[in-house]
Amino acid sequence: MELTLWTYEGPPHVGAIRIAASMRDVHLMLHSPQGDTYADLLFTMIEREGRRPPVTYTTFQARDLGSSTAEMVVNSLRESAERFKPQVLMVADSCTAELIQDQPGALALGADLPVPVIPLEMAAYTRKENWGAAETFYQLVRGLLSRQAPPPGSERPPRDANTRPSVNLLGPTKLGFRCRDDVVEIERLLNSMGIDVNVVAPLGASPQDLQAIPKADANVNLCPEVSDLTCSWLARTFGMPTISTIPMGWGATRDFIAEVATTLDIDINVDAVGESRLPWYSRSIDSTYLTGKRVFVFADGSHAIAAARVARDEMGFEVVGLGTYSRERARDVRAAAKEYGLEALITDNYLEVEAKVQELQPEMVLGTQMERHIAKRLGIPCAVISTPAHVQDYPARYSPQMGFEGANVLFDTWVHPLIMGLEEHLLHMFRDDFEFNDSVGPSHLGSEGEGARAQDTSGGHQTDDGAVVWAFEAEKELKKIPFFVRGKARRNTERFAVEHGLTTIEVDTLYDAKAHFSN
């Protein structure tokens, strides 16, 4: 039993619904009690979808248990097949249905339905949403393609010299982070390289489209949370190479172009493919103030790793924390964290994330909807870079995260919550101006300084363990430091005092600590 206040991911069957909702001409029959239809609103409200997900819920009640639930499954299957006429009918249990063991998959296979059936096992009590999406996509692709598979060990015939090279974009889904726009951006990028996109899946694909997957020369593993399993099966079964660089950020986009060129054995001049404003914006002098800003990154695996690289190499931030809620991606994130000299935070307990942010006192948080709330409470600027995300993170405008335009978007999005260049300096100099002071918050952001103001009053006069006490004058001096660096100054000074065996912090201690830590 695990105490959970907020959850980063839904249950695995929500992952299955995401695949169904992303595609055309499929239907999912979910054996489930009343209430599980809440999943519909994730799509219709958060992503403003104009249709319900293609899901039929059996909706069993207590009085049905032990007698008629299996019958309800068969009836729902027949009605779904009849009413929606899908090309493929997927069948799964939600968490409660798993307990009553009606085996809807087996019932479906035995029901002589006029439509191909893909049974899914969702493992509700051990797995979560992204796993469910990956497993569903894999079962669907495998179910539709295994009959086409060449005998094991066959060589993949070389591409005809007269046909344009092509790839599949695998992984983008509904309720993914900016998948809609990333697909457009990457397709445009590939086209400009003379490469066709054969199939995009699951987003917008029909089962018939999936049948065409093996026609491409390679698979782009665009959202590994969803497509890893499928890409490796396609590599094993059809000998299709996987392109695994996530083109997020300027450098990674160039690496992606290079990997595509190598994989497809074509000549590409990376500099000629496209360009982003990010490198120049980051080098322009206004961005000097970004230097060494301490950022905390927490997201799904692929967005966390990509964001950390952009943060350090392309924005000039210092990455002080890196983590993910996704245990499936833990190994990759741990390896990435090592490169920044960090121990990765792998947890799906948001209280642990909050404690870490509080401890690190970063100047900026790049995270999910959860971290947005944590950061707001602590008065720290934040940008959302990953699911779970709320309705405002499904914007009307074109707003990719990937490719060269994606790099531009990242620059703008991450700079926006911060106090800008000279404003930051003026706040340092004249913090008592009654109209223009740090508790007002960034001047371009309206009321968003409120969290910081609330935080400001919470300053204690001693450390948590009571070992070090702030003298009145020192506390007063501390408050002259703008709020966005005050937490760091407080923490450093207290650490300095403890390390030097001091029990009281005087004004001089504050400046001694400042000198000690300024490097």
Binding site: M1, E2, L3, T4, L5, W6, T7, E9, G10, P11, H13, V14, P33, Q34, G35, D36, T37, Y38, A39, D40, L41, L42, T44, M45, I46, R48, E49, G50, R51, R52, T56, Y57, T58, T59, F60, Q61, A62, L65, S76, E79, R83, S94, C95, T96, L99, I100, A124, Y125, T126, K128, Q369, M370, H373, K376, R377, P388, H390
Partner: protein
């Protein structure tokens, strides 16, 4: 039903003419926690369930409530289900952790879910055991919000019903009035002022703002429902000798007036005095409703089953705003609490109990009403087909009861129609 004080006799709407079974697009009772945890300020709701339960509540709550919520989920894992971990011990550990973390909590509800019901986890016994351990610290009890037993607002009914046994017994010579069902703080304050003007004393709102605000109940207790989803609790109170005052719900100018009149009549308040007290707020409510009338009159409205508020809302809109009601869907029908409403509803309104989603949507598409009241999962799907909707959860989450909210209530229905007139982009039809 001698313990029910009937106020109106005559031709009633017969109630649902049709029962439907099939796929439902309605939340489960766990969703009630979203408003209950805000209403009862020192209570904590611990759902014993699955990740789905946790995800449902946070999604239905608009994903996030900024402050740390007073609800959580103890997520059952494989070890719990396989019997490798003793669920009672596990619960003991989780509850201790929780109580240590939230020192301000005086009341803990263990909330049963579909999985906990299916594995027959006895939360009442668990609560009793935990109570012994935390005797002087926090009051612990259990109720079920599972989807296999409850729909959406029924969670509140189960919660309240579970506390009825704890209510102290009212002294033989005393009397009091219990206003049953969550209302917002501002509505409570307005109602208290009016009851005071009517000289009706000893009013208790149940649930109250604090978990310890438990009214006494006994022979001198009268109960009036402020919400239509409290039937089981009303029955439990009747079992403890309370009398239920039959009235329509305090929605709209007419509903609010009839509601207060029924209470006043039960208390033997002089009717002239009653009219005198109610006249000003009643006229004010009518003026407020009339502002929205031009948008609403002559329109056709269709209710899909969701919150149990469908019948009173349909009554308000037909009685005060001249809408015609195409169909009322209700998750379940409770004659006991709906009597006062059915008496005021046009008798020819089609009413369906339960739901079979796809045929129900087909009827909406065929009728193309001007406004469809439905759950959040369906609203945008209908909008994209050119049908205007009002999502019903807003009716539960907004202060709509009483005279001074009557205008706001009409406004909730008028707004989607007004929006259609204002917008010059795209098209709904």
């Amino acid at each position: 039903m001698s313990s029910v004080i009937a106020s109106t006799v005559g031709e009633h709407h017969p109630g649902p003419q049709k029962q439907e079974r099939g796929q439902r697009a309605v939340f489960c009772g766990l969703t009630s926690i979203i408003w209950l945890h805000r209403r009862i300020q020192d209570a904590f709701f611990l759902v014993v369930g699955s990740r789905t339960c946790a995800h449902l509540i946070q999604s239905a709550a608009g994903v996030m409530i900024f402050a740390e919520p007073r609800f959580a989920t103890a997520i059952l894992g494989e070890r719990d289900l396989a019997g490798m971990a003793d669920c009672h011990e596990e619960l003991d550990r989780v509850v201790s952790e929780l109580i240590a973390r939230r020192p301000g909590i005086n009341r803990l509800f263990l909330v049963g879910s579909c999985p906990s019901e299916v594995i027959k986890l006895d939360l009442e016994t668990a609560a009793a055991k935990l109570q012994v351990k935390h005797e002087n610290r926090v009051r612990i009890s259990a109720f079920s919000g599972s989807g296999i037993e409850t729909t959406f607002t029924q969670g509140e009914d189960q919660c309240l019903k579970s506390t009825v046994a704890e209510l102290p017994t009212l002294g033989a010579s005393e009397d009091n009035l219990i206003v049953l069902g969550t209302v917002s703080d501002i509505v409570e304050d307005q109602f208290r002022r009016l009851f005071d003007d009517l000289d009706i004393k000893n009013i208790h709102f149940y649930p109250g703002r604090k978990a310890g605000d438990l009214p006494a109940v006994g022979k001198g207790t009268r109960v009036i429902a402020a919400q239509p989803f409290v039937g089981e609790t009303a029955r439990a109170l009747i079992d403890r000798d309370a009398e239920l005052i039959s009235a329509p719900f305090p929605l709209g100018a007419e509903g609010s007036k009839a509601w207060f009149e029924a209470a006043a009549e039960a208390y033997g308040v002089d009717s002239e005095r009653t009219q005198q007290v109610l006249e000003m707020p009643y006229q004010r409510a009518k003026r407020a409703v009339s502002v929205h009338r031009s948008k609403l009159e002559g329109k056709r409205i269709h209710f899909l089953p969701d919150s149990q508020l469908e019948i009173p809302m349909a009554r308000f809109l037909s009685e005060e705003c001249d809408l015609s009601v195409n169909e009322i869907g209700t998750p379940f029908h409770d004659q006991l609490v709906m009597r006062g409403e059915l008496a005021r509803l046009p008798q020819d309104v089609p009413m369906v109990e339960g739901q079979d989603l796809d045929p129900a949507l087909a009827r909406v598409r065929a009728a193309r009403p001007d406004l469809t009241v439905c759950g959040m999962g369906i609203a945008n799907a209908l909008e994209s087909e050119g049908l205007r909707t009002k999502w019903s959860i807003e009716l539960v989450f907004s202060p709509v009861q009483g005279f001074d909210q009557a205008g706001d209530l009409a406004g909730l229905f008028a707004k989607p129609l007004a929006r259609e007139e204002i917008l010059e982009v795209g098209s709904w039809s």
